[in-house]
């Protein structure tokens, strides 16, 4: 058999295992399929959207606030922009926010948790007391307070949410790290002269990876909802940025007569948050069945 043949066989095996997995875990499957659709629509928005210029500050004075029709399936907004286009592009904004917030939060939270759990003592005490303070705020509250002192923009909102989100990962990783450190193989590595950095990278981090992955997947929906809420209150994305929370807030003032404006972006938030939450639940069931819902 050629190398290519072996490769293809292995790929088939992986696919079969994946298919098996998805059939056994409907929560994960439904979430993954819905999220895949959202991601594809967001990535290919320039090709799929009826009028890509409407994602910016185009104006069409002759087609202002039109009800859904075959030309504008989601209707138009007060500038005459096609709302289907803006909802599609809104997916790009939201996915960017979720990915960047979680990446920044993990990049701050995981190293701090490793340090606290691995070294213990005074360092641990200081880091954990600081996380306690951050965890004393509901996420929406602290991100709003931070966002309120900056000029409102997507970038500042991402920072504001990330700053409130890292302590969850610190607390989680610290617990895992502290339990691994006490195991005999870590102790024997130390006596053999293995460096701290190597022990953390080879033994502590891999042990903490699964629960962190599960937690991150469970948090994505929460980050999406918080970011939409901040934009809804006017402290996040600003027009003409297409963002679902902002669009709901813009549509709210027309809601009694133009129902479609606020309705469709809201449905987009709900569906995407559900997809994230289903994936989070599914991954937890599969990878980490002992963890209970804590948030």
């Amino acid at each position: 058999m050629t190398a290519v043949g072996i490769g293809a066989g292995r790929a088939r095996g992986v696919l079969r295992r994946l298919g098996h997995e998805l059939a056994r875990n409907p929560t994960l499957t439904v979430g993954a399929v819905v999220l895949a659709i959202v991601v594809v629509v967001a990535i290919f928005a320039p090709l799929l959207a009826p009028d890509p210029t409407d994602a910016g500050n185009a104006t069409h004075p002759l087609s202002v606030l039109q009800a859904p029709s075959s030309a504008h399936p989601f209707g138009t907004d007060e500038l005459g922009r096609d709302l289907l286009t803006r909802v599609m592009y809104g997916g790009r904004t939201s996915l960017q926010i979720v990915v960047e917030v979680l990446a920044i939060a993990a990049a701050i939270g995981i190293p701090l948790g490793l340090i606290a759990g691995y070294f213990g003592g005074a360092v641990d005490q200081v880091i954990m007391r600081v996380t306690d303070i951050f965890l004393a705020f509901p996420a929406l509250l602290l991100s709003l307070a931070i966002a309120s002192v900056f000029t409102p923009s997507v970038g500042h909102m991402i920072l504001a949410i990330a700053v409130t989100w890292w302590p969850w990962y610190t607390r989680l990783v610290r617990g895992e790290a502290a339990s691994v450190v006490r195991r005999p193989y870590v102790e024997s590595s130390r006596t053999l002269g293995v460096s701290h950095a190597r022990i953390v990278a080879r033994h502590v981090l891999p042990n903490a990876a699964t629960p962190v992955l599960v937690q991150i997947s469970m948090d994505a929906g929460g980050v999406l909802l918080v970011s939409a809420a901040i934009s809804f209150l006017g402290l996040g994305a600003q027009d003409p940025t297409p963002e679902w929370g902002l669009m709901v807030s813009q549509g709210a003032s027309y809601f009694s007569t133009q129902w479609w404006y606020a309705t469709f972006p809201g449905i987009a938030i709900l569906i995407t948050a559900m997809a994230f939450n289903l994936i989070g639940d599914g991954l937890r069931e599969r990878l980490d069945p002992k963890r209970v819902l804590s948030r």
Binding site: F134, A136, F137, L140, S148, T151, L225, V248, A273
Partner: protein, 338 residues
């Protein structure tokens, strides 16, 4: 036990102090100049200099911090840029209405979430379980501000079943004036026997309370289900089952109570979360509470007011957490040793 309580209290005080310092730090890193905001647009340099003195911005940061902590402790939380009134008295006026809303929301959430969670666990992996899990996931994935708009539009705008906004019918101000003791219309109306206002206030409460309840109801249903399934797998329940008790007795007499312990904790913690969520709900329903105050202050960049609200909600969260910890340690001695 005393040692446990003292230790938790000490940690609680430390966290509250940290929360105060953190809100101070956030207020300090404003890119703009608080004195300019305070003095208002078109202020003369003299007015700005005066504002700087009033706000003590001319002192070193550490002195400002100590002044701020002292002020917080003494009840001087600064003056709102927007209302020009003390922040603490503004919050005192607004908070009761929000507590009314959140308590009503939590009651609804428990009344919906608890039975759904039990149903889900009783028929685990069967049709009712699937249905409940879908409902619960919708609940925790719901953008509350959007739900508020939809509910208002459907139940008030289209169906005319319930009033759209406000805390009770404004016409009653004159026909049935309400004496205010608590700033909570439902409670005040009950205390003074003002039935007309009570009916109106209750009907105004339904929609916003349902919206506030959506997330906690979903969360409680999920928690009850998970916790019950855990408990059902424990040996004491297996023994009860092998003794021949039916499923009904198993659920009501043996499994439910231990399973509710973690749920109580979640209810307390989600209370503060819901208090923050009122920022999104109250504006839609024109509810004169902390959420409306916060939303208006956020839009006006009224930093002292925003920090005051932040402080109140965070301290509520810490205190509730503390109470839950202590109560659970009283009930379950194992927690004290941890």
């Amino acid at each position: 036990m005393t040692r446990f309580v003292l230790k938790r209290l000490g940690l609680g005080v430390l966290v509250v102090l940290g929360v105060v310092v953190l809100t101070f730090l956030i207020a300090r890193v404003i890119p703009g100049d608080p004195a300019v905001t305070y003095a208002g647009p078109h202020a003369t340099p003299a007015a700005i200099a005066h504002a700087r003195q009033v706000l003590h911005l001319d002192k070193p940061v550490i002195v400002q911090l100590l002044d701020y902590i002292k002020g917080v402790v003494e009840g001087n939380w600064g003056t709102s840029y927007r209302t020009k009134q003390p922040v603490l008295s503004n919050i005192g006026t607004a908070l009761p209405a929000s507590i009314e809303l959140v308590v009503a929301g939590m009651l609804i959430a428990v009344l919906i979430g608890l039975p759904l969670g039990v149903l889900s666990a009783r028929f685990a992996s069967r049709a009712p379980d699937l249905g409940v899990r879908v409902v619960a996931v919708v609940g925790v994935s719901m953008p509350v501000f959007w739900l508020a708009l939809i509910m208002q539009r459907v139940f008030s705008g289209s169906l005319h079943w319930l009033p759209a906004a406000g805390q009770y019918n404004a016409n009653l101000y004159y026909t049935h004036p309400l004496t205010s003791y608590t700033n909570i219309p439902v409670l005040d109306a009950l205390l003074t026997g003002n039935w007309a206002v009570l009916g109106s206030a209750l009907s105004h409460l339904v929609l916003p309370a349902l919206v506030v309840a959506a997330y906690p109801a979903g969360l409680i249903a999920r928690m009850v289900r998970a916790s019950l399934l855990d408990t059902l797998a424990e040996s004491h329940v297996r023994m009860v089952r092998s003794l021949g008790f039916g499923e009904r007795a198993l659920f009501t007499r043996f499994a439910l109570r231990p399973a509710l312990n973690p749920v109580v904790q979640v209810v307390a913690l989600v209370f503060a979360y819901s208090l923050a969520n009122t920022f999104l709900v109250e504006a839609v329903f024109d509810w004169a509470g902390l959420g409306s105050y916060a939303a208006n202050s956020l839009q006006a960049l009224d930093t002292p007011a925003v920090m005051g609200v932040t402080l109140v909600v965070a301290v509520t969260y810490v205190v509730l957490n503390l109470i839950v910890d202590i109560v659970q340690a009283l009930i379950d001695p194992r927690i004290r040793i941890q």
